[in-house]
């Protein structure tokens, strides 16, 4: 038996009787798919919210702490009596 014949034989073997499609397949898949989509949306929203909160926190901290201003010197004594 050559290759195409063998393949045809195996194909016939596999065709057989197709299983009946259960009627609840579509609603089930739709329900699960919708749930996946909803979860994805929720996760995306949460991530955006976290990003926003982190940005706000950083801005507030930066404006109150002003890390770019040179801190007053603590080693040199204040110059007085001129």
């Amino acid at each position: 038996m050559n290759r195409p014949e063998r393949e045809a034989a195996v194909r016939r073997l596999m065709e057989g009787t197709p299983p009946p499609v259960p009627p609840d397949l579509y609603p089930d898949a739709l329900r699960r798919g919708t749930r996946i989509l909803r979860r994805r949306t929720a996760a995306r929203r949460l991530l955006w919210l976290l990003t926003f909160a982190a940005t706000v926190t950083f801005l507030v901290w930066a404006l109150t702490a002003r890390p770019w201003v040179q801190p007053p010197s603590e080693t040199t004594p204040p110059l007085t009596g001129w």
Binding site: M1, R11, L13, M14, P18, P19, V21, A29, I36
Partner: protein, 171 residues
């Protein structure tokens, strides 16, 4: 905004329903061949297909011209490969440890052999694509395919080892 979204949901659901009506029969047949269950009692195949279809639905808006059937088949194959890997305990165990239904035409094959045979012959996926899908070299796909064909067309005769075992110890 809300109206547009609900319109999009409705359109997606409609397209998806048409897709399922057209493709579910063939995909379920392929899944049943993969799990080597009987056509009338195939809970594993149904579960695999439901999960694959739901993920196809979830990625429906991002398909961008890609064939949803390809997507579902890819998901199904990957899912089956992973489940076969996990269920039967680690590497090298894509072996004959499941309990295939004797009525299934592929009952004698290992899950991996079934997967490659179904992808290549039943679904007509090219060797290279099957290899890429499963993450194994093309040569390996070819070898497994040849082995599966041989096992199917020239089945090993009878349970010889069992017979040999009963003959020992005549005392």
């Amino acid at each position: 905004m809300r109206e547009r979204r609900s319109a999009q949901d409705a359109r997606r659901a409609r397209e998806f329903e048409a897709f399922v009506a057209g493709a579910a029969g063939r995909l379920l047949h392929a899944a049943t061949l993969l799990t080597a269950e009987s056509p009338d009692d195939n809970p594993r195949a149904r579960r695999l297909l439901t999960l694959a279809l739901s993920h196809t639905y979830a990625s429906w808006d991002r398909l961008r011209g890609e064939d949803p059937y390809d997507r579902a088949r890819q998901d199904l194959a990957g899912r089956f490969a992973r489940s076969a890997w996990h269920q039967y305990g680690g590497p090298g165990a894509l072996g004959r440890s499941s309990r295939p239904h004797p009525g299934s035409p592929l009952a004698r094959l290992t899950p991996q052999e079934r997967l490659i045979l179904v992808l290549r012959l039943y679904e007509g996926v090219a060797e290279e694509q099957a290899a890429a899908l499963l993450g194994i070299p093309v040569e390996r796909v070819r070898a497994i395919y040849a082995r599966a064909m041989t096992t199917l067309l020239h089945p090993p005769r009878g349970p010889a080892p069992a017979l040999a075992g009963t003959k020992v110890a005549p005392s």
